[in-house]
């Protein structure tokens, strides 16, 4: 008797009692459904967290200048400019563990369109900034090295600012705004990024070239010093820890600090924050997966239970089969395949249910719907394993029945 025939035999005997088969498979249905829904939920949640941190910039380090110390009163980080444009250039070009670096000089000021005004954050920076911070352009273009070189009066503007000055949906490219009385031509609008993990609106900002910022928007220029922080993006392969080390070593050398002297700057690793968030979602996924695994095992025990009942109920059938020439292994195969079929059908129905739940939740929470085919296959494989594992004992029991007792069984 070949496998296909045994399978059709198993399916037929399952179909003879549909309701019972369904209830038996229910444990597996719930288990697999839970696995797939939960993994999809975990992935969706992770992706939405990831999106928030991607908006902040990936593999980010922030370098801040040192603190003042006048008459014992110590200022905070950044109060004493110690980072120079040459430092920035050195970090940018000399360290293989650094992919890009850009200054971030910021001021809050009022900006004017022809008939509106709005107070927002204006940042002076270089073209690297777009990459480091993960800004993309919705319309127009970003400013380039030539604009920075020339100190061009151009601005790239966030969508919240556009809304406030011109109204939603307006294409601001080519418009002129005044920032501290200087007219700037808008050359681009950034794509929407939303909120930072701390609730700031990323889109409520204007980016201008660093040189223009220094010349037009700063009351006093500090010459070779950068009056702000550096955003450094670590090379993804090297990792932020290595980049942090390299940047620290480079700056200490450039600032000629003695070995025991403290740093006159501070390098902060923002990816740690992202990682801790990431870890918490991973812990959540693991928790959900273990709950799902438990329900699969419980489902398996359900199958074993019903298979045992079924073997007892069908003792006479087994006796007849053995009498007409079924070998113990034929009986074993029949019941094993029945258990396997139950578990696999349960798994398939469960997968469908899980996908439905995942889709529903994704639409409710506006997560991306992420369904990993590998998870479906693993879940189905696991339910098959459960079927075979828990079907083995009842099937063995059936195959070991004495035909004489089985035929006489009432």
């Amino acid at each position: 008797m070949n496998v296909l025939e045994t399978m059709s035999l198993a399916v037929r005997s399952l179909l003879r009692s549909k309701m019972r088969s369904f209830l038996t498979a229910l444990g597996i249905i719930i288990g697999v459904g839970a696995v797939i829904a939960m993994v999809a939920i975990g992935d969706g949640a992770r992706a939405s967290v990831q999106k928030v941190f991607d908006a902040m910039g990936t593999n980010m380090l922030i370098v801040m200048s040192g603190s003042t110390n006048s008459g014992g009163a110590r200022g905070g980080f950044g109060s004493q400019p110690t980072l120079t444009w040459d430092d920035l250039e050195a970090i940018r070009t000399q360290l293989p563990s650094v992919r890009a670096a850009a200054p971030e000089m910021r001021t809050n000021t009022q900006v004017f369109s022809e008939d509106q005004n709005w107070t927002t954050s204006v940042t002076g920076t270089t073209p690297d900034y777009f990459g480091v911070r993960g800004w993309s352009i919705a319309t127009g273009r970003r400013f380039n090295e030539a604009d920075v070189e020339a100190g061009a009066k151009v601005a790239v503007i966030g969508q919240t600012v556009v809304e406030k000055l011109y109204g939603a949906g307006f294409d601001p490219v080519g418009q002129v705004i005044r920032i501290k009385k200087t007219p700037f031509t808008i050359i681009g609008m950034t794509a929407r990024k939303g909120q930072s993990p701390m609730g700031q609106d990323y889109d409520d900002s204007i980016l201008v070239p660093a040189t223009t910022f220094q010349r037009q928007l700063q009351s006093q220029s500090l010459g070779k010093y950068i009056t702000g922080v550096l955003n450094v993006q670590a090379d993804a392969n090297a990792g932020t820890a290595k980049a942090q080390q390299d940047v620290t070593a480079l700056l200490r050398e450039r600032h000629r600090l003695a070995e025991d002297a403290p740093n006159d700057f501070d390098v902060r690793d923002l990816s740690e924050l992202a990682n801790s968030r990431q870890q918490s979602t991973e812990t959540l996924s693991l928790l959900l997966a273990s709950i799902a695994a438990v329900s699969l095992v419980v489902g398996g025990i359900g199958i074993m239970n019903i298979m045992l009942v079924s073997v007892t109920e069908r003792t006479r059938e087994i006796g007849v089969r053995v009498a007409v020439g079924a070998r113990p292994r034929d009986i074993l195969a029949q019941f094993l395949i029945e258990a396997l079929t139950l578990a696999l059908l349960g798994g398939l129905i469960g997968a469908a249910v899980g996908l439905g739940v995942a889709r529903f939740l994704a639409s409710q929470f506006q997560w991306p719907l992420l369904v990993r085919p590998d998870v479906i296959f693993i879940a189905l494989g696991f339910s098959a394993l459960v079927g075979v594992g828990f079907g083995l004992y009842p099937a063995r029991k059936a195959s070991q029945l004495d035909p004489i007792d089985a035929l006489r069984y009432e």
């Binding site: 025939e5 035999l9 089969r321 053995v322 009498a323 007409v324 070998r327 113990p328 035909p403 004489i404």
Partner: protein, 248 residues
Amino acid sequence: MNGQLQQMPLIALRGVSKIYQTGDVEVAALRNVDFHVEPGDFVAIMGSSGSGKSTLMNILGCLDRPTSGQYFLDGQDVSRLDRNGLAIVRNRTLGFVFQSFNLLARTSALENVELPMLYAGVPARERKRRAREALERVGLGARLEHHPRQLSGGQQQRVAIARALVSQPRVILADEPTGNLDSRTSIEVMALFQELRHEGITLVLVTHEPDIASHAGRVVVVRDGRIISDKRQQPVPAEIPPLEEAVS
């Protein structure tokens, strides 16, 4: 059939004993039985309950193995075969008919008859064809798709006989085949057996009713685990009512 094999007994028990262990007590169900059946014989085994006739039948049917002694079936010593070996012998050489029919419930007559061929590895198409032929042979050609519950007792037993016939066995073993049937259908079934016997099939039948045994060509009586009488007789022909109006 193989002419050479017809020279020797189809069934030969030599010094067969069966001892059951019940707690500390040993019960001998069969004691040193010698028994032969020639090809084409129609043997009725009689005996009261507890005589050992069921044990004898189980051993003949390769459902059980003797404690001691030898059993040659169709020239092969089957007394020491393992479960797989016995299963193959039951499948190829023997056909069973039981008192309580033992058909699979919620399964059509056709599928019931196909069952032995399923384990013999006969291809599906041939299985269907032979099962249909066997059912036509026992007069149930019009009831192929009926389930056991939709058939009368006599019809169910005829499905069981078709199942026993379908793999063309050397011997059909019938254990009280008329025990659950009324006298009219009993005679129908016995008539069918007599027909099969005329076609050269060897039949061994267990019964406790002398009426039924009278249709056989040889009657063996078992008591206390021994054969106490073994006589040939002129079989009484079963008066055959027309098969088609057999529905009660």
